[in-house]
């Protein structure tokens, strides 16, 4: 019995690990019921995998049986792998017992599609419902919306889940057709739209101070596989931008393709995972969401790929040198945020501290800035360093040769942003 559950967990955790999302933040679920768990506030990474990815949730598939045959997926119908399926009670027990020991923040439950979309979705919902209603569980629950699931089930899911996600997987419909012939983009977009509207309605009623139950309090997210198909970063980021603007998504995840098949439609076994590219996409995404950059400032149809050597913020600054150097003591905080080497927190400190005193380079160094980058872009006297009219290429070379390990070939995704 114990061995069986161990084996199932191995199979169904292994199959779920390519979904990179592990966030457990952004919910508002409090433990008002004196039950178990609290999903309020910031997410917690309880441990990290050997590749440095955050482990926050018990991320498993309900089953890896699947009637579809998506080429990029280990669970595809035609793949010869061991199959397994959890019972509803097994998932509940694992979640509760892991949670009680402080291993996890909650559950991220996805599934292969067995029989049909609704049948699968119904099981997922049943688990979430049981956790909430029978176990009085207030931890985090992330459910996968199954493509093609009915509105009724999605509404049910929204009542119990903190987050719902639907992976768009391929940046273009053409790639989706090629690699996931059973899937229709329409079947993905429709549930996302439905949930988006239901969330808007729920929040609007909340504003009217009507006591409404939570509905997907942590919003929706999606994921795209990167590097399996030929799309440019411009195509990818444009799509993300649309998701943020028109679908109110909380996050778009980028998952560098890990070769798992010798299907000739895909990169061969042994092709390195495009980790640097993945990291650059996250940086660009971050610029759009928190730094006020427009997607077209980062990539364009004429210049559709991100620079792999330097981060997109530095890249933008080098292309817009005429906007620098910035006067730290006077410039608008939104301009300060655009200085390479200065992050959001440092920008805030600069903005507050300069009300008290005239800031110097010494102050700035205390604000945790990356001095070797920022020095080219600020209007301050910098120790005995001489400012000259360097060309963008010269600055780029100086910064690269300063040997910042961040730019080493295998720099890691989601690590340091700027």
């Amino acid at each position: 019995m114990n061995d069986r559950i161990l084996e199932k967990l191995n199979i169904l955790a292994d199959a779920a690990k390519y979904d990179v999302s592990c966030s457990s933040s952004g919910s508002k679920r409090k433990n008002d019921t004196k039950g178990l768990g609290n999903a309020e506030g910031m997410g917690i990474c309880h441990t990290y995998t050997a590749d440095g990815r955050c482990v926050s949730l018990l991320k498993i598939l309900l089953t890896n049986h699947c009637i579809f045959d998506c080429a990029y997926c280990v669970s595809r119908k035609s793949n010869d792998v061991k199959r397994a399926a959890f019972t509803v009670q097994e998932v509940v027990d694992l979640t509760i017992n892991f949670y009680r020991r402080n291993y996890i923040e909650g559950l991220f439950l996805s599934s292969g599609i067995f029989s049909n979309a609704d049948y699968t979705m119904e099981r997922l919902v049943r688990i979430a419902k049981k956790l909430r209603l029978e176990e009085n569980f207030n931890g985090y629950i992330h459910l996968k919306s199954i493509p093609g699931a009915s509105d009724e089930l999605l509404t049910e899911a929204g009542k119990y889940a903190d987050r719902l996600s639907m992976n768009i997987e391929m940046p273009t419909e053409k790639s989706l057709k090629l690699l996931a012939p059973d899937k229709k983009r329409e079947d993905m977009i429709r549930p996302m739209t439905f949930i988006k509207n239901a969330i808007i309605a729920n929040r609007a009623e909340k504003q009217l101070k009507v006591k409404k139950p939570l509905f997907v309090p942590a919003g929706q997210s999606t994921q795209m596989v990167i590097g399996a198909t030929p799309e440019s970063d411009w195509q990818i980021l444009k799509l993300s931008d649309g998701f943020y603007k028109h679908f109110n998504l909380k996050r778009v995840y980028y998952s560098g393709y890990v070769p798992i098949s010798n299907d000739n439609r895909l990169p061969a076994f042994g092709t390195p995972v495009p980790m640097v590219r993945e990291n650059r996409l996250y940086q660009a995404d971050w610029l759009m969401r928190f730094y006020g950059y427009n997607v077209d400032e980062i990539v364009s149809a004429e210049d559709p790929f991100l620079d792999m050597q330097i981060d997109p913020k530095l890249n933008w600054a080098l292309k817009n040198l005429h906007q620098f150097p910035v006067d730290i003591n006077k410039a608008d905080v939104n301009i300060i945020k655009r200085i390479p080497g200065i992050g959001l927190k440092s920008a805030y400190k600069i903005f507050e501290a300069r009300k008290f005193t005239r800031l110097t380079w010494d102050h700035l160094k205390k604000f945790n800035i990356a001095a070797n980058r920022a020095q080219y872009f600020v209007n301050l006297k910098i120790d005995d360093w001489q400012r000259k009219d360097y060309s963008p290429q010269q600055i780029k070379n100086f910064i690269l040769s300063a040997g910042n390990s961040k730019y080493a070939a295998n720099s890691s995704p989601q690590l340091s942003l700027f």
Partner: protein, 269 residues
């Protein structure tokens, strides 16, 4: 500037202010500094004090009104968050942090306008850096604590944090595990928190070595405890993606000194 020497003192007249190491005691020390108009001060705990014949020593006595008056004064001048930061920085147990905090408090009280966001001020900088470390340790404890369930349904965890962060994590665990009994014990500082399902209280385990009590608890584990530890370890193994291995990044997130308490890092099965 901040600690203008009183005319009656010479600069070698360093006034040492000794307190008991508690936060209340520290606040009373601050009160005394104002009350006695000490100028060049060194606040330190009785344990740390090495003694020096050139120093004048003042012993702080606990008076609830004193600590409360300092707190009340601060509340009028700084935000709740900054007030908490003072406490957080204090819990770092860093040598000399009391003096930095005193400088900050003096800076606050000597200004009409709010100065808590003067990030260019040396005391604000030091406190900011210290708080950052303390918060990181607090966050790590919230993440890395692993409970083991005993036969009588108690969940216990042993910690050894770099700073005295136990007081900072109580609320988190209390609201998270409202329906389960738990103990978190700091072996370095030899005290713990026990939650009985209703309230939290401070405990000290009264026995010669904490080691023996830990072993004792281990022999009385719930019969399913081993299974869930095993499941967690095997989960941890399955989610690794070999093609993405990055040990440097892994260690940056989970420094080795935390490993001994992490279930997924034990290979006893």
């Amino acid at each position: 500037m901040l600690l203008t020497p009183h005319p009656s003192y010479r600069c070698f007249n360093m006034q040492t202010v000794l307190y008991d190491g508690s936060y209340q005691g520290f606040l009373c020390a601050v009160f005394d500094v104002y009350d006695y108009k000490f100028s060049l001060v060194d606040i330190c705990t009785k344990d740390q004090f090495k003694g020096n014949i050139f120093e004048q020593v003042h012993n702080v006595h606990h008076h609830k009104e004193h600590s409360e008056r300092v707190l009340k004064g601060l509340k009028q001048k700084v935000s709740r968050e900054t007030l908490l930061d003072i406490y957080r920085a204090f819990l770092s147990e860093k040598t000399g942090i009391e003096n930095t905090l005193l400088q900050f408090i003096q800076y606050v009280f000597s200004n009409k306008i709010s100065v808590e966001k003067d990030f260019s001020h040396p005391a604000v900088i030091t406190i900011g850096e210290t708080v950052k470390k303390v918060r990181r340790e607090k966050h790590r404890m919230e993440a890395f604590i692993r409970f083991q369930k005993t036969k009588d349904g108690m969940f216990y965890a042993i910690i050894e944090p770099d700073f005295n962060v136990l007081p900072l994590i109580i609320t988190h665990f209390k609201s998270r595990y409202a329906d389960q009994k738990w103990i978190i014990y700091d072996t370095r500082r030899k005290y713990g928190i026990h939650y009985d399902g209703v309230i939290c209280s401070e405990i000290t385990i009264d026995c010669s070595t904490t080691g023996s009590s830990v072993n004792e608890a281990e022999t009385q584990l719930d019969e399913q405890e081993e299974l869930y530890q095993k499941l967690w370890q095997s989960y941890f193994k399955s989610i690794n993606i070999e093609a993405r291995k990055n040990t440097k990044l892994h260690l940056q997130h989970v420094p080795r000194r935390y490993w001994k308490y992490l279930t997924e890092k034990q290979l006893k099965f």
